[in-house]
């Protein structure tokens, strides 16, 4: 791998009120013990838009994404510094109720992780825990979220079936349905399509494009075509740094940073 100048960055700034910013980070640093895995990442995520996070393996995409809803809190000796702004609040602070926050900033993981419960219970479990008891509402949510995740037609007759009996791709879509059933503000997805076949991938992509009417989406992907197809903005990560952030169209056609250019062209050329 070539040595790149890591001090040179190209990060666009989205100005309000032209762009409504749903979530942003300011000088976000993540440490795993002594190891600094993210350096001063400052990005903004526009409301009702899809932002793709791209970069080589180990560049820190997951690290960054997971810190957005503080999933890194659960990793022993990991530490996050800097600001994560959501609704005028720095949610990277002790005053914030992380559990409530995660109801609004949902996440879908790289590996499908359905509960060992029925399909129906997978979707309604958290809602019920959060106090939703209305059976009619729950039924409705199950149906709409499964439809949104393009899974409804395949499972509508077997909602009582164990989620573990689904295929990997179906499980992942169930996890997406589970996340959107919470009606979050923001949806974080970590390579949601990496375990899927091309057809399911396609369905998920269509789902995401439809979902951005309601949600703000941040998605990590290794698939350049996917990033180009579905995202409005793209952030390029390298060596634990966000080096370039721009509209997807611009970043893919005319990257400003050498590392991004090499990465993008390497994948297209």
């Amino acid at each position: 791998m070539a040595d790149y100048d890591l001090t040179q960055t190209h990060i666009i700034h989205l100005d309000e009120p032209k762009h409504e910013i749903a979530l942003s980070t300011e000088k976000l640093n993540v440490y795993y013990g002594e190891n600094r895995a993210m350096h001063d990442a400052s990005l903004q995520f526009e409301r009702y838009r899809i932002t793709a996070l791209i970069g080589a393996s180990g560049s820190g995409k997951s690290t960054y994404l997971r810190s957005l809803n503080r999933m890194n809190d659960n990793i022993a000796n990991s530490r996050v510094t800097g600001k994560i702004m959501y609704r005028d609040l720095n949610i990277n602070s002790d005053e914030i109720d992380v559990y409530k926050m995660r109801e609004h900033i949902g996440m879908v993981f790289q590996r499908p992780n359905p509960f060992a419960k029925s399909i129906y219970d997978n979707i309604t479990f958290a809602l019920k825990r959060h106090g939703q008891k209305d059976k009619k509402y729950l039924d409705e949510v199950v149906e709409t979220s499964l439809k949104q995740a393009a899974l409804w037609d395949q499972v509508k007759d077997s909602l009582g079936k164990s989620a573990l009996a689904l295929s990997g791709g179906q499980q992942q879509r169930l996890c997406i349905a589970r996340a959107i059933a919470m009606k979050p503000d923001i949806l974080l997805l970590d390579e949601p399509a990496s375990a899927l076949d091309p057809i399911s991938t396609n369905t998920v992509e269509e789902t995401l494009i439809r979902l951005k009417e309601e949600f703000t989406i941040v998605i990590v992907t290794h698939n350049m075509q996917q990033a180009a197809r579905i995202s409005d903005y793209t952030a390029f990560f390298h060596s634990g740094r966000a080096l370039e952030f721009d509209e997807t169209r611009k970043l893919f056609t005319r990257p400003k940073i050498k590392a991004a250019e090499d990465y993008v062209s390497g994948h297209f050329g």
């Binding site: 609704r87 914030i96 109720d97 409530k100 926050m101 609004h104 106090g131």
Partner: protein
């Protein structure tokens, strides 16, 4: 103000449940630790009374061989010599371990190197059942089979260290075996493959390579077995004869720390010297159990270093 924003600044139901759950689980674990401390405190406070309140010297306690706590000898010293029981306990423990180890290693090798399939299907359940049989049942079988057999073969009453050893042998066999199996299983495959590739037979490979690599694990198993033997009470008590005398051979009645404890505790008055002396025996048992634990750790650390 934005209701979502407001809700982020309040303590949520989930946060409360987390606090509660953490607290509950912390209470449970603390209780266990507290119980352990309490056991040590109570046993020690009673057991040390013999030395600090009744002024029996620890040296005499450990080396004298007359156990008659209610009497005093001609010098006015109470007769609390625990040596017969100490010898008895160590005697049955070492002999049982000595007997069980080759069997355990043999069975372990059979289960891992010769016939893993039959090992898993047959020997594994056998071991589990042997562990499951209650110690009083072992004691009863010892009493009705082994003791008469010993009497028949060697004369005497049949009660004694030999009978105790036989019973303990069966009782610790599964413990030692299952740990030996674990140790043998954890020897990496390539050790065996390398040795076999060099033309060694299976036996040579097992003997020179596998067993050697598994030694710390096997030793740990043996120590665990010894700990179990040392602390076993009723099965031994039923066959050892319960005579607090220095054992001169394996077939005359003897006693162990545990057997004297089970027999005596009900017949002494709390706080009397005779009672305190029994607690001292309990303390000794406790300390031995700690020592066995320590040994296991030392072996584990050494084994890890040699890897």
């Amino acid at each position: 103000m934005d209701p979502i924003k407001a809700s982020l600044l309040k303590k949520s139901r989930a946060a409360k449940s987390e606090t509660r759950g953490k607290l509950i689980s912390l209470v449970c674990i603390s209780l266990i630790v507290f119980i352990v401390l309490a056991i040590f405190y109570f046993v020690a406070s009673r057991g040390l009374a013999t030395f600090f309140k009744d002024k029996v010297s620890i040296g005499r306690f450990l080396t004298q061989s007359t156990w008659n706590p209610s009497l005093k000898d001609s010098h006015g010293h109470p007769e609390v010599g625990a040596l017969p029981m100490i010898m008895g306990s160590f005697g049955v423990t070492f002999l049982a371990a000595l007997l069980a180890t080759p069997f355990a290693i043999g069975a372990g090798i059979f289960m891992t190197e010769i016939s893993p399939k039959r090992g898993e299907k047959l020997l594994q359940p056998v071991m589990e059942l042997l562990v499951g049989i209650p110690s009083v049942v072992y004691g009863f079988i010892g009493l009705s089979v082994i003791v008469p057999a010993v009497r028949h073969l060697f004369g005497g009453s049949g009660f004694g260290i030999l009978a105790g050893t036989c019973v303990l042998f069966v009782m610790i066999l599964p413990t030692v075996t299952s740990m030996t199996v674990d140790a043998l299983k954890s020897v990496p495959r390539h050790y065996r493959e390398a040795s076999l590739a060099l033309g060694a037979t299976r036996w040579q490979t097992t003997w020179k390579v596998v067993l050697k690599a598994a030694t710390p694990g096997i030793l740990t198993g043996v120590v665990f077995g010894m700990a179990r033997a040392f602390g076993e009470a009723l099965a031994v008590q039923m066959v050892i004869g319960n005579a607090a005398l220095l054992p001169h051979n394996l077939i005359t009645p003897a006693s162990t720390l545990t057997s004297v404890l089970t027999m005596g505790m009900g017949n002494t008055v709390m706080g009397s010297l005779a009672n305190n002396a029994l607690w001292s025996l309990a303390l000794l048992l406790l300390l031995m159990s700690l020592l066995f634990n320590l040994l296991v750790r030392l072996i584990g650390r050494k084994g890890a270093m040699n890897r």
